[in-house]
Symmetry: C2
Subunit: 396 residues, 2 copies
Amino acid sequence: MNYTFSERMKNMNGTATREIFKLLGNPEIISFAGGNPAIECLPTERVKEITADICSSPNFARVLQYGLTAGFPELRELLCKYVETADIYGTKTENVLVISGGQQGIDLALKAFINPGDVILVEDPTYLAFLQLANSYEGICKGVKANDDGLDLCDLEEKIKKYNPKMLYCVPTFSNPTGKTYSVENRKAIAEMTAKYGVIVIEDDPYSKLRFKGEYVPSMKSFDKAGNVIFISSFSKIISPGNRTGVAVGAPEIIRKMEIGKQGTDLHTPNLSQMITYEYLRRGYLEPDLKKAVRIYGEKKGAMSDAIKKYMPEEFRCTDPDGGLFIWGSLPERIDMVKMLPEAVERKVAYIQGSVFYADGSGTNYVRLNYSYANLSQIEEGIARLAGLFKEKLAK
Amino acid sequence: MNYTFSERMKNMNGTATREIFKLLGNPEIISFAGGNPAIECLPTERVKEITADICSSPNFARVLQYGLTAGFPELRELLCKYVETADIYGTKTENVLVISGGQQGIDLALKAFINPGDVILVEDPTYLAFLQLANSYEGICKGVKANDDGLDLCDLEEKIKKYNPKMLYCVPTFSNPTGKTYSVENRKAIAEMTAKYGVIVIEDDPYSKLRFKGEYVPSMKSFDKAGNVIFISSFSKIISPGNRTGVAVGAPEIIRKMEIGKQGTDLHTPNLSQMITYEYLRRGYLEPDLKKAVRIYGEKKGAMSDAIKKYMPEEFRCTDPDGGLFIWGSLPERIDMVKMLPEAVERKVAYIQGSVFYADGSGTNYVRLNYSYANLSQIEEGIARLAGLFKEKLAK
C-alpha cells in the first residue's frame, strides 16, 4: 500500500537528530554532536535513593493509578517556588503545567497557537528541533539577527512589522547552539516589544542553571507584564533526561490550553517520573549537585577552549560561553561543514553542521561543538582530529 | 492580553474528561464515570520489586540518560513476541513503537495522516477522547452504524464510497463505550474492505486482555495483508495507567512517521516506565496477574448486572459484555442523561452521558457505566441510587 501522509509530516525526516544518537552508539567516535549531559553529573545515587523511598512508601498504589493532566499537585505547588530561582514571582498552580520534558512544552505551545502559515520569529541560529517542530505545525520560521547582547532589537521590530508573527521563540540563556546569553536590558526590551505588538514568546530555558562563570541573569519571563511569555524549563540537563520532566509557566488561559493539548497527547507525565523530580527538589539536592555539575562543565568547557587554542587554525572563530553545553564555531564561508561531516566521522570525531540551526538553512560554515558528553582527554583528542581536518580543507 | 489560539484548539475545552477526574476526587460519590482499573488489580508489589531491582542494577545510570525515540531496544524486541497474544505474527522491531500510553499512539497516528477536513469513520458510539483528538487535528468524524456482530458492513462500504475517508478508528474488543466485541468474520471483512479502498485503520486495543467470559478473538491486525492497520495497545489497564506505556504496531513506513512525530512531542517515553513494563512482561507476571484481575472484573461486572436486574426500571436496556470495563445502557429517547447528570451527582452517583461518545452528539438517552473502579457494595448502592432517579424521571 502507498501511504499518503499528512501535509505536516510529509517532509519530516528527523535525520539530523537520529544521526546524532547513532554516532553516540559507536564508542570509537568522539562525539561533540549531541546535547547529552555528562554521565558523571547525573545524580544516579540520589535518584536510586529517592526511587527506593517511593517504592517503600505506603501510598505506592497511587503511583500506579491515573494522575491529573496538569501534574502531581505537590509538584505543581513546589514548582511555583522553584521558578523563583529564575526571578519569576507570584506563580500560582494555575500558571504551572508539568510537562514530559521541555520539548513537550514547546510542542504544546505551538499546538495552542500556531495555524498553518503563521510566522514564528527565531534567533538566527536557533535550536534545530524547534525548527522541525514548527515545520510540523506548518509554521513559517523567520530568522532575527542577533548580536553579543541578544537579539538585534531593530531587526526584531522590523520583522514584527513586516511579518505580523504569532510567536517569537528564543533560548536567552546559554543559547542552543551559540552558548550566548542575552543581557538584562535586551530581555526587558524584548518582553516589552513583544507585549506591545501582541506576540507570544516561548522562552526556552533548559540550560540557565549550568552557569560556570559570569553573573546570574533573570529570566525574560520575569519582565513579562502582559502575560505573553511562556517560560519553559526542563529537568533534563540538571536531574535526568531519561526521566522526561519539565515545567511550563504562563498565563492561566495559555496553561489551560496547553493542558488540554497534553490531555490528548499523553494524558499525563508518568507518576514515577514526576515523583522523582518532586522528591529531588524537595530534599534540596539540586543546589549541591549543581555545584558539582557546574564545576565539571566548567572544566570540560575549559578543556575544549584550551584545545581550540592549541590545535585550531587561526581562521577558526568561536564563542566563549559562561555556561550551558555548547561552543559555536566557524571557518571562512568557503568551508562547508555539511559536506565535511562524513570525513570527520571517518576520522572518528563528530559535530553538528551549523546549517541545521538556521531557519533558511544557511550557515554552512558553522559548527556546534558539545563539550558535556566527552571526557577531558577525548575533548583534546577530538579537537585535535577536527583541527587537522579543518587545516587540510583550508589549505586546498 | 487577549489570546488568539489556533483553530485546532479554539473549541477544545476538555470538560467531560476533567469532570470525571474531579468526581473521583470526592470519596462520597460512587463513580461509574471513569475508566480507571481497579486499585486491587494494580500489581503494586510486583512493580515495587521490579523498581527496586532496577535501582540496584549496575546499569542504573543508563536509566537517567537520554534513550531512543522508538523505545528501549530490549522492550521493542520483547513486544514483537508479546503481540503474538493478539495473533500478530512476524513482527520486527521496525514495526514497533513504544508509546507513552495508548492515547499517544492514537495522537501520533492522527498526526501522521490527518489533514484538516479529512474524514475519519468511527463506530457510533466511540471513545470520546478519540473524537476530541480527531477534532484537534481538524478531522471530520462520521459515525458508522453497528450491530451485535461489529460494524454494519453495508453502512461501512456506503460511507467509504460517500466520504472517501482517510481513516477508520475502532475498538473491536470490549469497545469503549459499549463493551461489545466484533466477530472474527466482521474483523476480517473490515480488514479486507479498508485495504481494498486504501483506508488506514486504527485498531485501538486497550481492553482485550480483560476477558472474563466467552471465546478469545484474534485482533483485526492479524487479518491485515495490505499493511493498512495500525494496532495500538496499552499497558494502562493491565499493568499501570500511571506508568504511561503502550505499543503501536504497523508497517515500517507508518511506524517511522509516528516515531518522527514522537521525537517532536516527548523525545522518548521515560526510561524507568519502559523498564518497568519490560521487566514485568519478561518475568512472566502478566499471565498470573491477569487471571486474578479478570476474576475481579468478572465479579464486579456480575455485581453491576445483578444490581441492574434488581433495581433498574424495565425500560432500562443494557449490554452484557464478556470483558473490558463498561456496561452501556439506555432509557427511552425522551430521557436526557446530559441534563440528568447534575441530579445524579447530587445523589452521589456519577456516570458519563452517552452523547459524548457520538460523532454527532446524539445518543442523549444513553449512559456509560464503569464497573471496575467501585467496590462490590458501592456498585449495588450506586445502581440503586441511579435506578431511583431513573424511575422518577420515567414517572414524570
